[in-house]
């Protein structure tokens, strides 16, 4: 274990501390999505997965 690992871990913990209240706020106050709403996110996500697989195949 070196100081870079410790520094990176402390940086990560600081990010968690910073994000936690925002996460709680977002969970409480963001509107609830319907199945149709989530599908509208999953639709482009499917294309992104295929595109990333294509990129991986192109560099192999």
């Amino acid at each position: 274990m070196n100081w870079l690992q410790i520094g990176s871990a402390l940086f990560g913990i600081a990010m968690l501390v910073f994000i936690f209240p925002r996460m709680r706020y977002a969970m409480k106050h963001s509107p609830k999505g319907t199945m149709k709403d989530w599908l509208s996110y999953l639709f482009p996500l499917g294309f992104i997965v295929l595109f990333v697989v294509f990129l991986i195949m192109s560099v192999r």
Binding site: M1, Q5, G7, A9, G12, R22, M27, P31, S40
Partner: protein
């Protein structure tokens, strides 16, 4: 307020304001991307150490959390944003040097860069044409990010390659969600400050680029 103004005029002025925020955001985003690529080049050329990169990233994130929100409503926010993106670009130096040293390194970096650009343009186009409000994803995305950071901290010490790859794949999905959310927030008036909008989109792009580069590097033949 405009009590006697017709609804149509108010709507069109609101659309104009949204278009202005969107245009300024993309303009500022493109300028910060150019600037951060210059500082990334400086990081590579000067042989920036991993420690130096970590310190630059910590300073940039601290400025993002504590300085940018206080200056984003004034012109002082623009140099602060350039400082943040410049430091984050410099922080990429050692990682880019590592990948560029591989036999197909330049191809990997350019593929990751182009891939990130295509995904960003595709998602922006999708959010702009559908005009859908993606704010319902905020809680889910924040929880996803929180879990990923915990797993990343654990993997600093565990060094599990499969976990590293899974986390990078998850980061691409989460950043895609953030890009949709941020773009739809601009369209629907949830984000009216183009400096904050450009900062959020820059971070999403940067994280997606790094994650994609790690995935391509791990699966490449070298």
């Amino acid at each position: 307020m405009f009590p006697n103004q017709p609804a149509v005029t108010r709507t069109s002025s609101s659309v104009l304001a949204t278009n202005k925020v969107l245009k300024n955001t993309y303009l500022l985003l493109s300028m910060t991307l150019i600037f951060s690529s210059i500082t990334a080049y400086i990081g590579i050329a000067s042989g920036a150490s991993q420690g130096g990169a970590l310190i630059a990233s910590i300073v940039a994130i601290a400025m993002l959390w504590f300085v940018l929100p206080r200056t984003a409503n004034s012109t002082a926010g623009i140099p602060v944003l350039f400082a943040i993106t410049g430091l984050l670009g410099y922080g990429l130096g050692p990682m880019l040097s590592y990948y560029l040293a591989m036999s197909n390194g330049p191809t990997l970096v350019m593929t990751a860069l182009g891939g990130t650009g295509v995904i960003f343009l595709g998602l922006s186009g999708y959010a702009l044409t559908t005009k859908k409000d993606f704010s319902f994803m905020a809680g889910f995305m924040m929880v996803g990010m929180f879990v990923v950071i915990i797993a990343m901290i654990a993997n600093i010490f565990l060094n599990i390659p499969a976990l590293f790859l899974a986390l990078n794949a998850a980061i691409i999905m989460i950043m895609a969600g953030f890009m949709l959310m941020q773009t739809s927030a601009i369209i629907h008036g949830g984000e009216t400050n183009y400096i904050m909008a450009a900062a959020s989109l820059f971070l999403s792009l940067l994280n997606m680029f790094q994650a994609l580069l790690h995935l391509l590097g791990a699966f490449s033949d070298d």
